[in-house]
């Protein structure tokens, strides 16, 4: 079926000293300043949060099997979709690739010993855990029912749920993001190895740099927004209060100023991973390297200019809406450039279909669909019809789940041998990737149809004629869940029983593949001097 990549013959039989066994004990992990260990701490934390968000989604999909609701009361349903959104967005997707793969790989890919501020890096993780605890408390004390969007004045004045705890959790986790982004920007600017010029960097680094810019410039705004929301709930008066002239749209502007760029925080790292995967599994340089690099930066900048497309039907000025609509079309262009370049890379490449590649190819297809449907929504007039329906839900799940999560899984699989020193069973991985792909499409494609037909989102009940599509969607969700569960099993299995991977099991280019698997604590015994371009596969 595919060109198998043979493992190297000089695999050491004796265990070496590496970052995993250099020191033992829980204290050595909880007080580590090694970026690789911190990456693993994040990996465990966000996997846990993913399960919580996924559990909420499972309950929702079970509930929606029947038009009048099969499982919970409407008030509970409101809490389920709110918690699902909050946990998945802020505590899984936003940190996923940056905090796990980014933390692990960035110093290695640029030829550094660690990030610029290792202690700050550890503090970021503790801040993330603190934020997660507040959100878990919010869930356990009854949840929130405001939606992950916390619109005022419902959230500020009328909601009787744990809004402050949830908002505080997100506020705190935001600082984790900010510090991570700060660390990455300084690291990439100041700690590249000799010869590692900007245009020799792997495209994953370019994506992480662009993502970090959004972390730095966007996250503070959601922080102040939630801070003001919290103040208003405590004081019973504030700047969103309609009684004293407060404008509800002010909240929405401030909220979406961050939350739209946030979706690019969620997708840009995935695009960076996909660039790495396509190059490695086509054994070819990424076509149009500079265009892809600049597209990442363009996405980061333009993403800040389009947030009003979430507010087309809220009473926002039509003139502002027109501007936001045009700019929203503009932001699709750099993403399209990337898709074209990946596709061109595949042409005449020596392609193999290991699991990471299956995830990358799935990403290209599903992200394209999700992105194109975004254009439907960017059209002001069409959005009037589609806003608040399942079309939106399907759109963002195509880019977030079909895109970002698949890229995340592809990256985890690709770099798993580097992180753990073990290889996972690729047969099972390919089976799981296929199940994820099938399950995903079965879950979310019917939702495009439902949205077009007019089924509103965030409703606990729906008209009976929509039941077939809802059942299909729920069936897909159970298949998707199986697809996610299988990697959990074989990846953990591989830690003990997987074959030992050598330094470069994929035969790929990149500084991370020149060091042992798992790497030693200081990454490089001798500081590398870079002389070649990225993806220097000889044709």
């Amino acid at each position: 079926m595919s060109t198998a990549i043979a493992p190297p013959h000089d695999v050491p039989a004796e265990p070496r000293v590496n970052y995993l066994n250099a020191s033992y004990g829980i204290k050595s992990w909880l007080l580590t300043v090694d970026h690789k260990r911190i990456g693993i701490l994040y990996l465990i934390s966000i996997t846990f949060m993913f399960m919580i968000g996924g559990f909420a989604a499972s309950l929702m999909r079970i509930h929606l099997l029947e038009p009048q609701g099969a499982l919970v009361q409407p008030e509970t349903y409101n809490r389920l979709f709110s918690i699902h959104g909050i946990v998945m967005v802020f505590f899984f997707l936003v940190p996923s690739i940056p905090a796990t793969l980014g933390n692990f790989l960035i110093p290695i890919m640029i030829g550094a010993r660690d990030v610029a501020f290792p202690k700050l890096n550890l503090m970021s993780w503790y801040i993330f855990i603190t934020g997660s605890c507040f959100v878990l408390y919010a869930i356990l004390s009854g949840g929130v029912d405001t939606g992950w969007t916390f619109y005022a004045p419902y959230s500020s004045t009328f909601a009787h749920t744990s809004v402050i705890a949830a908002a505080l959790g997100i506020f705190i986790a935001g600082f984790s993001s900010i510090l991570t982004g700060l660390n990455f920007v300084v690291t990439i600017h100041k700690m590249r190895a000799p010869g590692m010029t900007w245009f020799r960097l792997p495209l994953f680094i370019w994506s992480m740099y662009a993502t970090s810019i959004i972390f730095i410039l966007g996250t503070p705004v959601i922080a102040i927004t939630l801070f003001l929301l919290g103040l208003e709930r405590i004081l019973h008066v504030g700047i969103f209060d309609p009684a004293i002239g407060g404008d509800p749209l002010l909240f929405q502007h401030l909220f979406w100023f961050y939350s739209h760029p946030a979706v690019y925080i969620m997708i840009l790292p995935g695009m960076g991973v996909v660039s790495e995967l396509i190059a490695a599994f086509s054994r070819k340089r990424i076509f149009g390297y500079a265009f892809v690099a600049f597209s990442s930066m363009a996405i980061a900048v333009i993403s800040f200019l389009v947030w009003g497309h979430h507010m087309f039907v809220t009473g926002q000025s039509v003139y502002a809406g027109l501007i936001f609509s045009v700019l929203s079309f503009l932001v699709a262009i750099p993403s399209a450039v990337k898709v074209f370049n990946w596709t061109a890379t595949l042409y005449k490449g020596s392609i193999s279909y290991q699991a990471p590649m299956l995830y990358a190819l799935g990403f290209i297809g599903l992200f394209t669909m999700g992105g194109l449907t975004g254009l439907f929504l960017a059209s002001l007039a069409e959005d009037v019809h589609l806003n608040g329906t399942y079309f939106i839900v399907a759109h963002f799940h195509y880019v977030m789940v079909g895109g970002a999560v698949m890229a995340y899984l592809g990256g985890i699989h690709y770099w798993w041998p580097k992180i753990t020193g073990r290889m996972y069973p690729d047969v099972w991985a390919r089976i799981a990737a296929t199940i994820v792909f099938v399950g995903f499409n079965l879950t979310f494609f019917p939702q495009f149809v439902l949205g077009y037909l007019g089924m509103p989102r965030r409703y606990a009940v729906y008209p009976a004629e929509f039941q077939v599509l809802n059942v299909m969607s729920s069936a897909g969700a159970s298949i998707l869940a199986i697809g996610y569960a299988i990697p959990l099993i074989y990846l953990i299995w591989s830690l003990k029983y997987g074959p030992i991977a050598g330094p470069n099991p994929w035969g790929a280019k990149g500084l991370e593949w020149t060091i042992p698997s798992p790497p030693p604590t200081e990454n490089f015994e001798v500081m590398p001097i870079v002389t070649e371009e990225a993806y220097n596969y000889h044709e």
Binding site: P118, V185, K190, V237, G238, G245
Partner: protein
């Protein structure tokens, strides 16, 4: 391995405070400075959200904002501005003392003077402004009572006072954090950590302190001087 010995020799040449993920002190200093500036960029956006909201409501409700602004006492705002400007000078002089190799005590003198000025700022604010506002019952969420003369503007005057307390409150919080940072710096200086070769923590803390000063430089005219204070305004 071989380079452990070489590394050990280089290690002795590094000053105290050198962090080993860096190649040399210059790289560490550059990284620290860039890191603090990036953090200040986040603070610009953080305060910026409130400044933006303020700008919007001020343009929509100017007369109410003027009324609200006139509830504040310009004298205290101006004095506090001067206090903070003095504290920026003393902070800059503390760093300069370290750069020019002055004694520990000189550096500590300037740092403590900065702290005294910062504490004066917070003290004046609490005693003569916020406490006075509490007595006059114009603290939103606590005891706000509209004056009859405000008429229909009353709600938006309360909105202005929300901005006043939120913005100066957030600013004061940053000042207090700054005082905490300064006390840590005093302790570090007393331990003899700083020299002309290594004074990065002083320098980057100075950046934070000056930033907090700059925020106040804008808060003063934007909160205290809306619509002017001339007769008839």
């Amino acid at each position: 391995m071989n380079d452990m010995a070489a590394h050990g020799a280089v290690h002795d040449a590094h000053p105290p405070g050198f962090a080993h993920q860096f190649e040399d002190v210059q790289q560490q200093r550059d990284a620290g400075r860039l890191g603090m500036w990036v953090f200040l960029a986040t603070e610009i956006l953080f305060f910026g959200g409130m400044f933006t909201s303020y700008t919007i409501y001020r343009s929509l409700h100017l007369s109410a904002f003027i009324t609200g602004s006139h509830l504040l006492v310009v004298k205290f705002g101006a004095i506090n501005t001067a206090v903070l400007i003095c504290s920026s000078l003393t902070m800059a002089l503390a760093i300069r003392s370290a750069q020019t190799g002055k004694s520990k005590n000189t550096i500590i003198f300037w740092l403590i003077l900065t702290m005294i000025l910062g504490a004066t700022f917070v003290g004046l604010k609490l005693r003569f402004e916020w406490y006075r506002d509490y007595i006059e019952q114009i603290v939103p969420g606590i005891n706000f009572v509209p004056h009859a003369s405000w008429g229909a503007d009353a709600g938006q005057v309360e909105m202005f006072m929300c901005f006043y307390f939120f913005m100066t409150g957030l600013h004061a919080l940053h000042m207090v954090i700054g005082l905490g940072i300064l006390s840590v710096l005093v302790w570090m200086t007393a331990k003899g950590r700083f020299s002309p070769e290594y004074n990065a923590p002083l320098e980057i803390s100075g950046l934070y302190w000056h930033f907090v000063d700059i925020v106040w430089i804008f808060l003063f005219p934007l909160l205290y001087l809306i619509g002017g204070r001339y007769p008839g305004s």
